[in-house]
């Protein structure tokens, strides 16, 4: 077998050469070739010779400068490229090459176009304009490659050819704001031309997160039902359409959502994701938790996927229309992993930099997707912040819901919050703060670390498990009529702050808990009831749905609902429907008429909650002093609260009767009998207090 030589730069001043199958009794001479005219003999500072492999270490008395391609020549064997990519794994790579500017990507004007790409390991970056004109970029000291072309390049496509350690890869621009179909190439657009009135003035001021009632849904699921007269089904524009109805003439789409009284519409991924074929979206289905371009909207939701401006204009239209109804828009952001990291633009531009590594060089995989984004690295953090700032400033997004936030480091979340609050003081930020292990000694943004992250809220799994039952077993929660969980509900129902069970309080203020029992993941509330209460009549199952929804509304914290939960939609028991198609996932508007009573109860209780000032108080002392909880018959609860009713100046006693049982509840007090129907919540306005 012939000898094989490889060489890598393990530190800025250290080269390691490995020779596999070396010659017997070989005495090699090594030459560092910096360019064709400059060759330097280098001598190993240490040698490790085994029969089949030799490892030579060369400690240089100077540092090699990046931005060039180096070769190592070995007598009797040949030459190889010096692989500089290992440098990206070094901690001080960040401090040496951190770039703080706000011009990464393309800066467009009618007269010129400036390109900037951060690629510190690269020896060469070539811009390919429309895949026919090629321009080399020039490197600066931060490893940013730049080029200015003095032309109006509106509408032109571009990609980069980036050469890292002798390997040239074609890639889209990770900071691109526009793209051709299926992420084929980046596109230069005059983005100012699409700006319009985003109707921010139609939004009422939020005093705290507790003013929010969040409703989660997907652009596609909310518009795709064939039984409606929505024209742009499965599209941004479809969700922006008004005066659309189902077969019974009942409002659907945006009108329907606005009729609920919710305050925030949380959209499943709207950034560009990979697994839906944008040319044939009806043939593939995916929620989109597989990000590919962080600054570009998803193309399958565009009315004209072949027109790069369409997805941008359509999304702006949608957000402007939603705002016009007084509803804020939250976007689901996935900064814990990407689609196919090995082939992602990040890996192509700066190999080894963007993903977390274990000490043995393997990728961390807490996300379950093969790669955890190294959010703590300075340029990854900057990219995340820049992307969110872009969505908040250009698209007027009003909040972010962080997927697997527990994998993002807390410092990134804090810096992000500071930056976003500057753009939009009413922005709402919350996420999945599960406690997962990733990275070495990182303070991660999980809910256990909530004290280190002011003004960030967390999906509360204790809430979910106590109200409907544990996700992973058949334990039945309080809301589905299990009195064992009554004491537990008193704790989570009052905001998970009062430590009523002696296990420590989860949060120190009620604006930290996102109270939910259904989201896009796992079973719908109705399907969970099918599993846990199989012997109920169909009517009772729906009544339980209605009761649990009201329970979420009358719990302290931020209420959260998944689209369809309000009328008990089913996914047929599919607990992980991310690619199960439209039939399983779509909002079935045909059911609106027969589920009208659930809908009316939901809307009524949304209004009541909005009108009870105590639910908007973030003052633990006030809640503790003004709220009392009593056990009543049927495993129920009477919650009383001294509170303002909307716009009144006197405190009244609100009596909230909670009856989770199949029997009606009779409550006697001072010769007065209050009757609470089965599986329902009754709110009474009591005397002035």
């Amino acid at each position: 077998m012939n000898p094989i030589v490889t060489a890598e730069l393990t530190n800025f001043d250290n080269i390691r050469v490995t020779i596999t199958n070396p010659h017997k009794n070989a005495n090699y001479v090594f030459i560092l070739v910096t360019d064709i005219n400059h060759r330097h003999r280098i001598d190993p500072t240490s040698i490790d010779k085994k029969e089949t492999v030799h490892v030579y270490e060369f400690k240089l008395n100077y540092e090699l400068e990046l931005g060039f391609e180096y070769h190592i020549a070995v007598t009797n064997i040949g030459t190889c490229v010096l692989n500089v990519n290992p440098l990206a794994l070094l901690p001080d790579f960040d401090t040496r090459f951190y770039y703080n500017g706000d011009d990464l990507g393309v800066t467009y004007s009618h007269r010129s176009c400036k390109f900037a790409l951060w690629a510190p390991l690269a020896s060469s970056v070539i811009l390919a304009l429309d895949e026919k004109d090629y321009y080399p970029l020039k490197r600066d000291k931060h490893g940013v490659y730049r080029l200015t072309l003095n032309k109006n390049l509106k509408g032109h496509t571009y990609v980069y050819y980036v050469t890292n350690s002798g390997v040239t890869t074609k890639t889209i621009d990770p900071y691109a704001k526009a793209s051709t179909i299926n992420s084929g190439a980046s596109v230069i657009l005059d983005l100012n031309a699409y700006e319009r009135n985003m109707n921010d003035k139609k939004l009422t001021k939020m005093n705290s997160y507790l003013d929010a009632i969040i409703y989660e849904g997907s652009v596609r699921d909310l518009t795709v039902d064939p039984s409606t007269n929505i024209k742009n089904k499965g599209k941004f524009l479809g969700l922006a359409e008004e005066k659309r109805v189902n077969k019974d003439g009942l409002p659907v789409g945006l009108d329907y959502i606005a009729s609920l009284g919710i305050t925030h519409l949380q959209l499943l991924p709207i950034y560009d994701f990979a697994t839906t074929d944008e040319a044939h979206p009806q043939e593939t289905y995916n929620w989109g938790y597989d990000p590919i371009q962080y600054f570009v909207p998803e193309g399958s939701y565009a009315s004209k996927p072949n027109d790069p401006a369409s997805r941008i204009e359509d999304l702006l239209t949608l957000i402007s229309k939603v705002h016009n109804r007084g509803i804020r828009v939250v976007m689901d952001v996935v900064f814990n992993h990407v689609y196919e990291h090995l082939y992602s633009p990040f890996e192509a531009v700066v190999p080894n930099y963007y993903f977390r590594r274990l000490k043995d060089g393997n990728f961390f995989n807490a996300s379950g997707c093969g790669n955890d984004l190294a959010t703590e690295r300075l340029m990854v953090r900057k990219m995340i912040i820049d992307a969110c700032k872009w969505w908040a400033s250009y698209y007027h997004i009003d909040g972010c819901r962080f997927d697997l936030m527990g994998l993002i480091d807390a410092e990134t979340i804090n810096k992000l919050r500071e930056e976003l609050k500057r753009i939009n003081p009413n922005i709402i930020l919350y996420g999945e703060g599960w406690n997962m292990i990733s990275g070495d000694n990182l303070t991660l943004a999980n809910s256990d670390n909530y004290l280190k992250m002011p003004n960030i809220a967390f999906f509360n799994d204790w809430y979910r498990d106590t109200v409907i039952g544990n996700l992973h077993n058949k334990e039945v929660g309080f809301g589905l009529d299990n009195v064992v969980y009554r004491q537990g509900f008193k704790e989570v129902g009052t905001g998970s702050t009062f430590n009523l069970l002696g296990h420590g309080s989860r949060f120190n203020s009620v604006d930290r808990t996102v109270n939910y029992v259904e989201c896009h993941d796992n079973n719908t509330l109705f399907d969970k009831i099918q599993i846990l209460r199989p012997n109920d009549t169909p009517a009772d199952k729906l009544q339980r749905v209605s009761f649990v929804n009201s329970l979420v509304l009358f719990s302290f914290g931020i209420p959260f609902f998944h689209a369809g939960q309000e009328i008990g939609l089913s996914k047929g028991g599919d607990g992980n429907s991310y690619r199960s198609g439209d039939k399983v996932n779509m909002f079935n508007y045909a059911l609106l008429k027969e589920r009208m009573s659930l809908l009316e109860t939901f809307k009524r209780d949304v209004m009541i909650r909005k009108n009870l000032q105590i639910y908007h108080s973030n003052n633990n002392k006030a809640i503790n002093n003004n709220v009392s909880i009593y056990d009543v018959d049927n495993g129920g609860i009477l919650l009383t609260a001294k509170t303002y009713f909307y716009r009144e100046r006197d405190y009244h006693l609100a009596k909230i009767f909670i009856n989770p049982s199949l029997l009606r509840l009779e409550y006697k007090e001072n010769n007065k009998i209050t009757i609470v129907p089965p599986m329902s919540i009754l709110v009474e306005k009591g005397n002035k207090v």
Partner: protein, 104 residues
């Protein structure tokens, strides 16, 4: 083994003195948050007595009541913890009475 005990809530007098005597430190913290302390205490007393009965030893057996801890699980359901071991308990209140059953 099964043990049961019933306590008339109105018999609980000098609640705070009694609480210090029969409740463990963790239970005292819960007691201070209880909306109806007298009822809470009666329930705890019944649970501890029921535990002793299930163990077949009386109140003079040498086991101190404050060593039998009646705590909450995450669900809110009570559990008895004695010398690090957990035991099933159920407590109920109605009107004047608190009742508890313990199974070992």
């Amino acid at each position: 083994m099964l043990g049961i005990d019933i306590v008339k809530i109105s018999r609980v007098k000098n609640a705070s003195t009694l609480a210090k005597k029969i409740l463990a430190k963790e239970e005292l913290a819960l007691y201070k948050k209880a909306r109806k302390p007298q009822e809470f205490l009666a329930g705890r007393f019944a649970a501890k007595e029921a535990f002793l009965k299930a163990k077949h030893c009386g109140i003079t057996s040498g086991i101190k009541l404050n060593e039998i801890k009646v705590l909450y699980q995450r669900s809110g359901a009570p559990v008895i913890v004695y010398q690090g071991e957990k035991f099933t308990v159920s407590i109920a209140h109605d009107g004047d009475y608190a009742i508890a059953v313990v199974s070992l």
